[in-house]
């Protein structure tokens, strides 16, 4: 089983920290300036009454949401009051991400990170890697820390594996047609409403005969992701392929999945990283001072 208390604590800091940085960087008041009449509540967001959205979707209302999120995510990232702060973080991020999807579409980038917040909210992720000093050392069985990490691995694997299966179910072998990638990539490069305006897509028709191989490779990578991820030797090759894949979709399609990429950090053996750093620091402390 992967992970221990320290690894789980690091993942708590990483997931909360990424959402925290994103919230700090985002203009919530600009979002509040959009007309509520274009909102289309999605999924569980339909359970909230319109009066709630009307009150919230003002620059002031959104600023209150922002600073509440900043406070709660900071506590979660630092490991303070984690039994409460991680649950509040999960609920606030869940609501905020639902709100964004009610304006636009159900994009998948942040969804893994949202599920990771749910897992962290119901695990003892505040037992290590926190800034507070614990009053008494808690002793728990190893699986209590490693199972949440395993769940995160399974979720990542499911995301890629099910994505490949859906493509094959819907598109069938047509998905490997030479025109698939160029036409999708060009479509996403024509407007100025995407976040970036890379124009590499317009070069793809020139190499269209080679593209079925590239698309097939990506499908194989997605299908084999679950197996490879549990084989330590193959894991890093698969993650490297993932980085290349997600970066290439940015330049070819103006579509990027930064949250999903950041979640690759769950595969790092943080305990080994800690031991390595500790060893280096000990060696530095023991080495004779050349000025003495």
């Amino acid at each position: 089983m992967p992970g221990n208390a320290f690894s789980l604590g690091v993942m708590r800091a990483v997931v909360h920290g990424i959402f925290l940085l994103s919230v700090l960087w985002t203009s919530f008041s600009a979002l509040g300036a959009l007309p509520a009449t274009i909102l289309r509540p999605t999924g569980v967001m339909k359970l909230l009454p319109w009066s709630c959205y009307v009150k919230l979707l003002t620059p002031g209302g959104m600023s209150i949401l922002k600073w509440t999120m900043v406070l709660v995510l900071t506590l979660g990232a630092l490991g303070i009051l984690t039994s409460v702060s991680t649950k509040l973080s999960f609920l606030l991020v869940l609501f905020y991400q639902g709100l964004l999807r009610s304006f636009g579409h159900f994009n998948h980038d942040e969804m893994l990170a949202v599920y990771y917040l749910a897992i962290l909210a119901f695990s003892p992720c505040g037992d290590a890697f926190t800034i507070r000093k614990s009053k008494a050392k808690v002793t728990r069985a190893g699986f209590v820390y490693s199972y949440p990490i395993l769940l995160m691995w399974l979720l990542m694997s499911w995301a890629y594996f099910s994505s490949a299966l859906i493509k094959l179910r819907v598109g069938g072998l047509k998905y490997l047609s030479p025109d698939n990638l160029p036409s999708l990539a060009i479509y996403h490069s024509l407007d100025n409403l995407h976040d970036t305006s890379f124009r590499l897509a317009f070069w793809l028709p020139e190499i269209r005969n080679y593209l079925p191989v590239a698309v097939g490779l990506v499908l194989c990578w997605e299908l084999l992701f679950p197996i490879a991820i549990f084989v330590r030797r193959l894991r890093w090759w698969f993650l490297l392929f993932g980085i290349v894949f997600h970066v290439s979709t940015l330049f070819l399609m103006n579509i990027f999945f930064p949250y999903q990429l950041a979640m690759y950090l769950v595969f790092v053996d943080w305990e080994s990283v800690r031991r390595y750093c500790q060893k280096r620091m000990d060696a530095l402390a023991k080495s004779p001072n050349p000025q003495a």
Partner: protein
């Protein structure tokens, strides 16, 4: 850790696993996204240049008479990666096709006599006005770059070839 505590964690994790994965399997089975449950159906339909696709370009007319491209991602950065679908949905009047409507949308529908009489892109002027104000808020009051109007141009790529991408279809303009 005592046995009781260990059992409590096993039960908690079993419930957590089921609560996360059962709806995910349902979403996968029916290829349906029901927030927060996700079917990873990104790019599931294969692209075909013969199909024809519409797309939008957001522009502004400055007080000095210049036409400039506006980047929605800079105006409403919270919607990163979603501005383009927000425009698609607003042009398609999707906010008027919900089971529970915003009170103002319900009033507008009653006023015009139903969805069939609603003009296309009924809320696009409100969206353009919001974006225009957000842009102007970042300019000084005397800047020649301030906008006097915001425009959304709809183009269609329908040539079926990898050329002739920009056939102008329609334009919406909002004076600020």
């Amino acid at each position: 850790m005592n046995l009781q505590s260990e059992r409590r964690w096993i039960t908690q994790y079993a419930i957590l696993t089921l609560v996360i994965f059962l709806p995910l399997f349902w979403s996968f089975r029916y290829i349906r996204n029901l927030y927060p449950f996700t079917a990873w159906n990104v790019m599931m339909e294969s692209g075909d240049p013969a199909r024809g696709r519409s797309y939008y370009v957001l522009r502004g007319e400055t007080v000095s008479g210049e036409i400039i491209d506006l980047r929605a991602a800079k105006l409403t950065n919270a919607l990163y990666a979603r501005n383009w679908t927000m425009v698609n949905a607003t042009v398609d009047n999707q906010a008027f096709k919900l089971t529970s409507l915003h009170p103002d949308n319900l009033a507008l529908l009653n006023q015009v006599g139903g969805l069939q009489n609603l003009p296309p892109a009924a809320r696009i002027p409100d969206l353009l006005e919001a974006w225009g104000k957000l842009y102007n808020d970042k300019q000084s009051t005397t800047s020649p770059q301030r906008l006097k109007a915001v425009r959304l141009d709809m183009y269609r790529w329908e040539s079926g070839r990898y050329s002739d991408y920009d056939k102008l279809q329609e334009s919406w303009r909002k004076e600020l």
